[in-house]
Subunit: 345 residues, 2 copies
C-alpha cells in the first residue's frame, strides 16, 4: 500500500535563532511496509517533540569544531527528533504491529526505522500517549537523571531551576519539592511564573525578563545561597548563579538554550566561584542514563497517578505547524512542554 | 626578652599584577613570650611560601562581592601566608618550645599565633624543612586531594596540567605518572618545559607562550583528547582545554592564576563542551581535605625517600626579598616552588 508522506525538511543551515523559513514542507510517496528481510520497523508518527537541542544540530559544520552527540541535520533532509509512534509494519522480532513506541523518529507522517533497538516500547497507556514526548520520555528521563544522579540532592536544600516551566524544568522542580527541597524557578513571562507557583508548587518564581540584575534577583530569592542549580539556560544566567552558589553546591548542566543560536557563545566570567565555593559543575546527557529508564518510568507514573506530579503541555495540531512550534521555543512562546500532534489515535 | 621584628606589610590594595611597591618593609619591637595565661604560641619563622592565591587577598573589597575563604589582607597589616616555623614560646599544651610547625603565619621574623590549632606539627625532619611550604605542606596536600579525590584518575588516562612546573603542578604530574597515566604539562619558558620532561618525567610538555592557538597545541599533544585536566590557569587556557576534553572527562579546578590580577575575569566561551562531553568540573580547596594529611604525608614522604618523586624549589634568601618573589610568580620568573628563607636552622 502506497501513501503520501508529508514531511518537514531542513532548508539550509541555520544562522541565529531558528526561523520558520529555515524549514520547508515536502512530501513523498512511501510503501507502508518494511523492506523484505530487513529488521526495520515502519512507524506512524503520532506526536513529535520540540526540544531546544534540535537547534544545535542545524549549524553549518565548522572544521575542527565540536560535533554534538546527536547526528547533525543536513539541508534537504527530514528533521529528526523524538516522537511517539505506532508500529504499522515490523521486520524486528521485538516489535509487532500496533505497538506504541517512543524514540528518535522523523518530522513526517511515516518513518522507516532501520535500527529499532533505539526505540522504547511504551508499556503503560493509562496516561496520555503524548506524555512519552515529555514527562515519561526523554525530557522526563533527563530530569530524573539530572536531579537524582547529578545533583546529589538532600532534603532541605535550596534548589534553583532556570527555564523552569519547560519540558524538563517543571519535572525537576516537582521532584525537588517531593524530596523536601526549597525550590525557586525562573521563566520568561508572568503567566509561566504563575504556573510555577500555583500549578507546580514551587516555593517562589520570578520573571527573569523583569530583572535588571539577575545576581540581585537570585540573592533576594536565596539569601543563604543556592545548593543546587539545574542549568537549562547558560550565559548571563549562569554567571549570576555562580555568584550565589553555596559552599559545596552542585550545578547540573542540562542545557544552555540562551546560547544555541549564537555563533560565538557568551563568556562566563565567574568560574572562580567554583573554587571559592568548592562547587561541582557537571554536564550530562540523558542517553548515559537510559539503563534507569524502567525505574524512572515506574516511579514517575506512580507520582502522576497519585497526583503528586502534574505536567503541562503546549500542544499544537498538525505537522505543518511544527516549524513554528520549534521557533517558539526560542522566543519563549510555548507554555510548558511543546508537543506537535501528527495523528490522533 | 625584646627583639626587633622585621615585617612586610601590604601598603595599599593591589590593582592589576602585584608590584614590589604594593608592599613595604617595616619593623616593630616584640617580646619573645606569649602573653601570660594565653594559649598562643610564638613562632620564629624559617621559610615563607609565595603562593598565587595571596594576590586574591589583596583586592579592595567590593560590596556584595565574593569574599575568598582566606582572610583578606588590609593595607597596613602584615602579609599572612603559609610558612614553616619553630616554636620559641608556647602557652598551648600541644606545642612545646623547639617544635617545628607549618601553617598560616606572618611575613615577618616572629609571629604570635593565637589559634595554634590551625598549625600542623612537623613529624619528619629527615627531609628539607622547606618542603613543608611545598611538597609536604599546603601545595602538596592540594595536589594529593585534587588528583586522587577530585580527578577520579585511572591508569592509562590522558592527563593535562597547566602551570605544570609550579608548586602544585609538578607533584600532580608525578602522582599521575606513578599511577600509569600519560601526562603532558605546559609552562611559560623552555627551561621549565625541559624540567617537566627531564626532571619530572612528564611524557610531553610545551611552552604555551610559543603557541598561537592553544586548542591546536592541545590537539597535537592529545589527539584522542584529555581525560583529566588539572586547572591552575583559567581564561583562554580553560577554553582551549574544554574543546579537547574526552567524554566523561574531569576538570579539577585548583587555581586560575591568569585571572587573579584582572578586575573583571575573562569570559570562558566553551562551557557547552561540559554537556557534549559530559564533563565534571569541580572546584576544591585544600582545607576541606586536611583530614587526609597524615595519609598524604606518609605516602609522599615515602615517594620522596625512594626517589619516585622529586621536587624543585626556587629559593630566595631574606625577608626583604619576599615581595619580589611574590611578584615573580605572576611574571613566571620562578622555576619551581617559590620559597623565601627567613632564618636557617
Amino acid at each position: 500500500m502506497e501513501v503520501t508522506n508529508k514531511r518537514i525538511l531542513l532548508k539550509d543551515y541555520v544562522l541565529g535563532p531558528p526561523k520558520e523559513s529555515d524549514m520547508v514542507a515536502s512530501s513523498e510517496t512511501v510503501r507502508l511496509e518494511v523492506p523484505v528481510g530487513s529488521k526495520a520497523v515502519l512507524l506512524k508518527n503520532l506526536y513529535l517533540s520540540c526540544d531546544p537541542y534540535l537547534r544545535t544540530l542545524m549549524n553549518r559544520p565548522v572544521e575542527g569544531q565540536e560535533v554534538p552527540y546527536f547526528t547533525p541535520i543536513n539541508p534537504g533532509s527530514v528533521i529528526t527528533g523524538f516522537g511517539v509512534a505506532k508500529v504499522v509494519d515490523s521486520g524486528h522480532p521485538d516489535f509487532k504491529v500496533g505497538d506504541y513506541v517512543w524514540g528518535l523518529t522523523g518530522w513526517e507522517e511515516f518513518t522507516l526505522i532501520s535500527n529499532p533497538e533505539t526505540l522504547f516500547k511504551i508499556k503503560y497507556t493509562d496516561v496520555p500517549l503524548s506524555y512519552y514526548t515529555g514527562i515519561l520520555g526523554m525530557p522526563g528521563m533527563t530530569a530524573y537523571a539530572g536531579f537524582y544522579e547529578i545533583c546529589s540532592p538532600k532534603k532541605g536544600e535550596y534548589v534553583y531551576i532556570s527555564a523552569a516551566s519547560g519540558a524538563v524544568g517543571q519535572i525537576v522542580g516537582q521532584y525537588a519539592k517531593l524530596l523536601g527541597c526549597y525550590v525557586v524557578g525562573s521563566a520568561g513571562s508572568n503567566e509561566k511564573v504563575n504556573l510555577l507557583k500555583t500549578k507546580f508548587g514551587f516555593n517562589e518564581a520570578f520573571n527573569y525578563k523583569e530583572e535588571h540584575d539577575l545576581a540581585v534577583a537570585l540573592k533576594r530569592h536565596f539569601p543563604e545561597g543556592i545548593d543546587i542549580y539545574f542549568e537549562n539556560v547558560g550565559g548571563a544566567m549562569l554567571d549570576a548563579v555562580l555568584l550565589n552558589m553555596r559552599d559545596h553546591g552542585r550545578i547540573a548542566v542540562c542545557g544552555m538554550i540562551s546560547q544555541y543560536s549564537l555563533e560565538k557563545h557568551e563568556g562566563v566570567h565567574n568560574l572562580i566561584c567554583l573554587i571559592t565555593k568548592r562547587v561541582r559543575m557537571q554536564g550530562f546527557a540523558v542517553f548515559d542514563h537510559y539503563h534507569k529508564y524502567d525505574e524512572f518510568v515506574e516511579t514517575t507514573r506512580e507520582y502522576i497517578k497519585e497526583g503528586k506530579i502534574v505536567y503541562v503541555e503546549d500542544v499544537v495540531e498538525g505537522l505543518e505547524n511544527a516549524p513554528a512550534a520549534l521557533v517558539g521555543l526560542f522566543t519563549g512562546r510555548n507554555v510548558g512542554k511543546q508537543v506537535v500532534v501528527i495523528a490522533q489515535e
